[in-house]
C-alpha cells in the first residue's frame, strides 16, 4: 500500500479540520480506508487527486461511524457524535469543491443519499455499505481511466 498517500491524505484532512471540533479519531476502523488506498494504487491518477478520493472516503466512513453511535441516554455524547458526523459530511463537500472534483462528488452524492435510506432499514450493515462505497470508487476510477 502507498503509505505516503495515506499519510498525505491524513495530513491534508487534519489541516482542514477546525481544532475547535475536538473530533476523536482513535476509535476509527482503518481497514476500509486501507482497502480503498490499495485500490487507488492500481489506477493512473495524479497523487493529489488520489488524496481527494481517499479523503472523501475517510470522511464518509467517519461520518457513518459517528452517526452510528448515537445514544439518547447521554445528551452530551449524543450531541458530540451528531455534530461530528454533520461536520465531517460538510467537510467532504468542502474538500471536493475546493479541489475541483465535481465528477467525484456527483458520484458520491447519490451514494451518500442512498446510504441514508439503507441505514433506515432494519439490519443495515455498515460493512456492506463500505463495500458499496468501494464499488462506487472503482466505478469512478474506471470512468476516469476509460
Amino acid at each position: 500500500m502507498d503509505m505516503k498517500l495515506l499519510q498525505d491524505t491524513i495530513d491534508m484532512l487534519r489541516s482542514h479540520i477546525d481544532s475547535g471540533t475536538d473530533i476523536d479519531w482513535t476509535d476509527m476502523d482503518n481497514r476500509p480506508v486501507r482497502d480503498i488506498a490499495d485500490m487507488l494504487d492500481a489506477y493512473e491518477l495524479a497523487h493529489s487527486r488520489k488524496m481527494t478520493v481517499l479523503a472523501c472516503c475517510i470522511l464518509i466512513q467517519s461520518a457513518l461511524s459517528k452517526h452510528g453511535k448515537l445514544h439518547a441516554q447521554d445528551n452530551e455524547r449524543l450531541t458530540r457524535m451528531l455534530l461530528d458526523g454533520d461536520y465531517l459530511t460538510g467537510l467532504m463537500y468542502r474538500i471536493a469543491v475546493k479541489r475541483k472534483e465535481w465528477k467525484l462528488l456527483s458520484q458520491l452524492l447519490p451514494f451518500h443519499k442512498r446510504m441514508q435510506l439503507t441505514l433506515l432499514k432494519k439490519n443495515a450493515s455498515p460493512e456492506v455499505l463500505l463495500s458499496e462505497l468501494k464499488r462506487e470508487i472503482r466505478s469512478y476510477l474506471e470512468q476516469r481511466s476509460a
Partner: protein
C-alpha cells in the same frame, strides 16, 4: 402586510418546489417514512426567510437566471430544515411549530438519517449532472453553478462550529465577548449572509455587490441573534414559547450574562449556577439579569450591528432593490 407579500415572494409556489425535491426522487417509493416525514416538515410551514433572502439577493443581479436562483433557495431551505431536525435532537425539543418534532414521531437514529438524506437529496436535485438533464429539476446547471451549490452545502461545517462552541462552553462564565460573537456569527449570521450573497451570485451580480450583501446579512444576523438572546431574558414564557432564561438554564452563555458578569454582586450569584441548580435559584438570577444594565448594554450592541446593516444599504443606494433590503431590516429589527 407580511414580509413575503411586501417583497413579492409567492410562498405557495416555493413550497411546491420544496415538495418536488422529494417527490421526484426515484430512490423513494411510497409508502416511505422519509417521503412522508419530509413532506410533513414542509407542510408544517415556517417563515422561509432564508429562501426569501436568496430571492432578495438575486434582485441585485440580472434577469434570466431564475432557475439557478430557485435551486439555490431550495437548497438553502433544505439545509436549514435538516439542521433544525438535528438541533431538535440536541436540544431535546419535543415540539416545533405546534407539531411533534421528527425524532419524537420516529426516533433519534431515523431523524438523523432523514436530516442527512435531505441535504444530499437537495444538492443532487439542484446540481444534478451539469450539462445533462437533471432528475426532477427543470434545467441542467452549469459546472460553475454545481460547485457553487455544493459549496453552500459545506456551510454545515460553519453551523456545526457554532454548536461545538456552545457545547464546549456550557456554564463557562469565562466565555469572552470575542468567543460569544464568533459563536453567534457561526450559528446565525453566516447563513443569513450567505443566503443574500448566494442569491446575488446565482443571478450573476457583480462581486462587490455580492460582498456588500454578505456584509449586510452578517450585520443583520448578528443584531437579530443578540436581540433574540436578549428577549430570552426580557419576554414572558407565553410570548417566546419557552421558559424565560432558557438559554442560561441550559448552560448557554449569551450576551446579557456576559455583561451581567461585570456587576460583582450579580456575578457572584451567576457563577453559583450550574447544571444541577434549583429552578428557584435560576429564576432569581434570570430576573436580576433582566432588571440589570446588561439588557441596555446588549440592546446597544444590537443597535450598532443594525447601524452597520443600514450603512450597507447606503452603499447599495443606487440599486432599485435597496427598498427590499430596507423592508428586510425592518422585519428583523422592527
Amino acid at each position: 402586510m407580511n414580509i413575503h407579500k411586501q417583497i413579492g415572494v409567492d410562498l405557495a409556489s416555493f413550497d411546491r418546489l420544496l415538495r418536488e425535491v422529494v417527490t421526484s426522487d426515484r430512490d423513494l417509493s411510497p409508502p416511505s417514512v422519509v417521503l412522508e416525514s419530509v413532506v410533513n416538515l414542509i407542510n408544517s410551514g415556517g417563515k422561509r426567510l432564508r429562501p426569501l433572502m436568496v430571492m432578495l439577493g438575486s434582485r441585485f443581479g440580472v434577469s434570466g437566471h431564475e432557475s439557478a436562483v430557485m435551486k439555490t433557495a431550495v437548497l438553502l431551505e433544505y439545509l436549514h430544515m435538516a439542521s433544525l431536525v438535528h438541533d431538535d435532537i440536541i436540544d431535546q425539543s419535543d415540539m416545533r411549530r405546534g407539531m411533534p418534532t421528527l425524532h419524537e414521531t420516529t426516533d433519534v437514529q431515523t431523524a438523523v438519517h432523514i436530516g442527512n438524506y435531505m441535504i444530499a437529496r437537495a444538492i443532487e436535485w439542484a446540481a444534478g449532472h451539469p450539462g445533462e438533464e437533471s432528475d426532477g429539476a427543470s434545467e441542467a446547471v452549469s459546472e460553475e453553478d454545481a460547485y457553487r451549490l455544493a459549496e453552500l452545502a459545506a456551510l454545515v461545517t460553519e453551523l456545526c462550529m457554532g454548536e461545538y462552541d456552545q457545547l464546549h462552553h456550557r456554564f463557562n462564565y469565562d466565555l469572552t465577548m470575542g468567543q460569544y460573537l464568533e459563536k453567534t456569527r457561526c450559528k446565525t449570521a453566516l447563513l443569513m449572509a450567505h443566503c443574500l450573497k448566494a442569491g446575488a451570485e446565482a443571478a450573476k451580480a457583480d462581486a462587490r455587490t455580492a460582498e456588500l450583501l454578505f456584509q449586510f446579512g452578517e450585520a443583520l444576523g448578528m443584531a437579530f441573534q443578540i436581540r433574540d438572546d436578549l428577549l430570552d431574558f426580557t419576554q414572558s414564557k407565553e410570548t417566546i414559547g419557552k421558559p424565560a432564561g432558557a438559554d442560561l438554564r441550559n448552560g448557554n452563555i449569551t450576551l446579557p450574562v456576559i455583561y451581567a458578569l461585570n456587576e460583582p454582586a450579580l456575578a457572584a450569584k451567576i457563577r453559583q449556577l450550574g447544571p444541577g441548580s434549583a429552578d428557584a435559584d435560576m429564576d432569581e438570577v434570570i430576573l436580576r439579569i433582566a432588571g440589570s444594565s446588561a439588557t441596555e448594554q446588549s440592546e446597544e450592541l444590537a443597535r450598532s450591528y443594525a447601524e452597520q446593516a443600514q450603512l450597507m444599504i447606503g452603499e447599495l443606494a443606487d440599486h432599485p432593490a435597496r427598498c427590499d433590503l430596507q423592508a428586510l431590516l425592518h422585519y428583523f429589527l422592527p
